[in-house]
C-alpha cells in the first residue's frame, strides 16, 4: 500500500531503487519522500518511541523526513527526503538498520 497517490505527471520515466533491500520503482523527478511513500505507508520510525513517520511539511521545515541512504558501496548518508531527488539504484532504509549494499547483478 502507498500513502501518496499520483494524480499527474505519470508519464515521467521510471527509475529503479532499493527499499530495505527490495527492488522497487518510482519516477524521474521524484523526491526520496515521494519515491518511498508511493510504494510504502511509512518513511521511518522515530528514535524515541519507534512510532512510524512519513514526513509532514514537505518543504524542509519540520525535519521529520531524514532517512538513511547509500549509493553503490559508498558510506551511509542521512538525507532529508523531501528535498533530495531520487537517483537510480539508491538504497534506502525505512528502519533503523542501515540500507544494504546492493550486489551488482550478474551480466546476462
Amino acid at each position: 500500500m502507498s500513502l501518496l497517490i499520483r494524480y499527474a505527471e505519470q508519464s515521467r520515466p521510471s527509475v529503479r531503487f532499493f527499499l530495505d533491500g527490495q527492488a522497487v520503482s518510482a519516477l524521474a523527478g521524484d523526491t526520496l519522500l515521494t519515491a518511498v511513500l508511493t510504494v510504502r505507508e511509512r518513511l521511518r520510525t522515530t528514535e524515541f518511541t519507534g512510532s512510524p513517520r512519513a514526513g509532514f511539511c514537505m518543504m524542509g521545515a519540520c525535519q521529520d523526513c531524514w532517512v538513511q541512504v547509500r549509493r553503490g558501496d559508498g558510506p551511509v548518508q542521512r538525507l532529508r527526503a523531501c528535498s533530495t531527488l531520487l537517483e537510480a539504484d539508491m538504497s534506502l532504509s525505512t528502519t533503523s538498520a542501515p540500507p544494504p549494499v546492493i550486489a551488482e547483478e550478474p551480466k546476462p
Partner: protein, 461 residues
C-alpha cells in the same frame, strides 16, 4: 553614487527576493541571490524538478499562472548581473558574514547590505494523532500536488483555518481526489464582520469566494466554527474526529489529512543578525521591526515578503521592490519617487487586507491551550508531550520560553520549534495565565537547519 565594495546579498528567491534582486540589477548593482531550493519561485510559485512530462504553468498555478511565469523568467534578462545561487542554504549570520551550505560544502560570505526574503511555512497546532503517517501540513499537501503531481490520499480532509484551506481543497478536488470535508476552526461570522477590510483587495477576495463557491457547487462539505478532536488510525490516518459548531461530535473517514492554521514567517536569520523584534498581536508572533520601506532596525539590513509578516504573494513582490529601492537610496542612488509612491499605496491596501484576513481566520489559541491533554505529543522531533511541558512548568516555574526550552528540550530538536513553537508558547502562557507576548520568544540556534554530517568546509569569500 558611493558604491559599497561588497555586492548586496538577497536571501530567498521567492517573489520578494526575485523582485528585490531584479530591482537592484536594474539600478546597476550586481546582487548575490541565495536560495535553498533548486529552482526559483519560492513557495507559491514553486517549480517541479526540471525534466520530461511536466505540466503547463496553467495546470500548475491556475489563476496565478501569468504571475508565476513572470517570476520564473524575471532573472534571465539579468543573468550577467545577478549571481543567483540555488541549492544554497544560509545557516548562520554572524559579524557581517553569512555561513552557507551548498552541494555538501560550507562557505562564508561577507556582506555590507542584506535583504531577508526568507518567506514562511505552515503554522500548526498539534492535535492527537498528528504524527501518524498520512497527516501532513496544508502547505505540504499543496507542494506534493504542485511539485510532485501527488496527493496525500484519495479521500482527504483539510482542517485548520485560513484562505489556503479552501484553495488547497479546490486544487485537490480538481486533481481528482475526493475531498471528504473542509473543516475550518474560524466561525463564518468573522468573515462577514471583516468583509470591509477584505474589500481592500476585491480581486483577491473574488478569487477566495470563487473557490468557496466551487467547492459548494461540487458538493464538497465545508464546516466552519469546528473544533478538532483527534485523528485516528492504525499506523496511518483513517478518520478525523471533530466537533461541529453546535458541539456535536462528528467522524469523517479519510486516508489523508492536511492541517494548518495560516503561516509563520521564517525569522531566524533576521534574529541572528541582531534585528529588533516586536510582538505582533495579529500574527500572534514576534516579527522583525521594519519601516514602510522594509528597513530593519540595523543599517544596511532590509526585510521583504512573508518572512517579515504574512501578507501574501502579491505583497511580497511589492515589498521586494520597495526594500531594494530603500537599499539603493541608502547607498546614495537616485530612485524614482513616483514609483515609490505607487508601491507604498499598493502596500497600504495589502496591509488593510492582511489585517482583516488575520482577524477573519484567527489562530484558535485559547481554546486549544485549554483543551490539550497531557499525552498529546507537542514536539515531533523528540516526542515531548504536553504533560512533560506542564510538569516542567510546575517543577521549575520557567517564566520564559527559552528557559522552558533549556529545561524540557521543547523547541530544541531538529526543527528548532518551527512545528511546536506556537503550541509551546500558547501552552506556557496558558499555564502562567499570562499573555503570549509575556514569555519572550524562542531564540534561534546555529545551524538554523541541520547540516548533514561529513560536509566539507571551504573558505571561499
Amino acid at each position: 553614487m558611493s558604491q559599497s565594495p561588497l555586492p548586496p546579498v538577497v536571501i530567498g528567491a521567492g517573489p520578494a527576493g526575485i523582485r528585490a534582486a531584479v530591482t537592484l540589477a536594474r539600478h546597476g548593482l550586481s546582487p548575490i541571490l541565495l536560495d535553498e531550493s533548486p529552482r526559483p519561485g519560492g513557495q507559491i510559485y514553486r517549480q517541479p524538478p526540471a525534466g520530461p512530462g511536466q505540466r503547463s504553468a496553467s495546470e500548475l498555478y491556475g489563476f496565478e499562472a501569468a504571475k508565476a511565469t513572470a517570476i520564473h523568467q524575471a532573472l534571465a534578462p539579468y543573468a550577467d548581473r545577478i549571481d543567483y545561487r540555488p541549492d544554497t542554504l544560509v545557516w548562520n549570520v554572524e559579524r557581517g558574514a553569512l555561513d552557507l551550505l551548498s552541494n555538501g560544502r560550507t562557505a562564508t560570505l561577507a556582506y555590507h547590505s542584506l535583504i531577508f526574503a526568507t518567506g514562511a511555512t505552515d503554522r500548526v497546532l498539534p492535535m492527537p494523532g498528528w504524527t501518524m503517517p498520512g497527516v501532513f501540513t496544508l502547505g505540504g499537501a499543496q507542494i506534493a500536488l504542485k511539485a510532485q503531481g501527488c496527493g496525500i490520499g484519495s479521500t482527504v480532509v483539510f482542517l485548520g483555518t485560513g484562505p489556503l484551506l479552501y484553495l488547497i481543497a479546490y486544487q485537490y478536488a480538481k486533481a481528482g481526489a475526493t475531498v471528504a470535508a473542509v473543516l475550518d476552526t474560524s466561525a463564518f461570522g468573522l468573515r462577514i464582520k471583516h468583509l470591509p477590510g477584505l474589500l481592500a483587495l476585491p480581486k483577491v477576495l473574488a478569487k477566495g469566494l470563487y473557490y468557496t463557491a466551487w467547492l459548494k457547487a461540487y458538493g464538497v462539505p465545508v464546516y466552519t466554527g469546528i473544533t478538532p478532536v483527534r485523528a485516528e488510525g492504525n499506523e496511518r490516518v483513517a478518520s478525523v474526529i471533530w466537533q461541529d459548531s453546535a458541539g456535536r461530535q462528528q467522524h469523517t473517514a479519510c486516508d489523508g489529512l492536511g492541517i494548518g492554521y495560516g503561516l509563520r514567517p521564517e525569522t531566524q536569520l533576521a534574529d541572528m543578525a541582531g534585528c529588533a523584534f516586536s510582538f505582533n498581536p495579529l500574527d500572534r508572533a514576534w516579527l522583525p521591526d521594519r519601516d514602510s520601506a522594509g528597513r530593519s532596525s540595523l543599517a544596511g539590513v532590509y526585510l521583504a515578503g512573508d518572512g517579515a509578516g504574512i501578507t501574501g504573494a502579491d505583497a511580497a513582490e511589492v515589498g521586494g521592490e520597495r526594500a531594494a529601492l530603500a537599499l539603493l537610496q541608502d547607498q546614495g542612488a537616485t530612485i524614482d519617487p513616483s514609483r515609490v509612491a505607487v508601491l507604498e499605496k499598493r502596500m497600504a491596501a495589502f496591509v488593510r487586507f492582511r489585517t482583516a484576513l488575520l482577524q477573519a481566520f484567527p489562530l484558535p489559541a485559547a481554546r486549544w491551550a485549554e483543551t490539550v491533554s497531557d499525552d498529546l505529543v507537542l514536539c515531533r522531533c523528540e516526542e515531548i508531550t504536553a504533560g512533560d511541558l506542564r510538569a516542567t512548568v510546575r517543577k521549575d516555574q520557567p517564566r520564559d520560553l527559552n528557559r522552558l526550552k533549556a529545561l524540557s528540550r521543547i523547541g530544541m530538536g531538529r526543527c528548532q520549534g518551527r512545528m511546536c513553537g506556537a503550541a509551546a508558547a500558547e501552552l506556557l502562557a496558558h499555564q502562567h495565565g499570562c499573555a503570549v507576548n509575556d514569555i519572550a520568544r524562542i531564540r534561534p540556534q546555529t545551524p538554523i537547519k541541520p547540516i548533514p554530517i561529513g560536509v566539507t568546509p571551504e573558505n571561499t569569500p
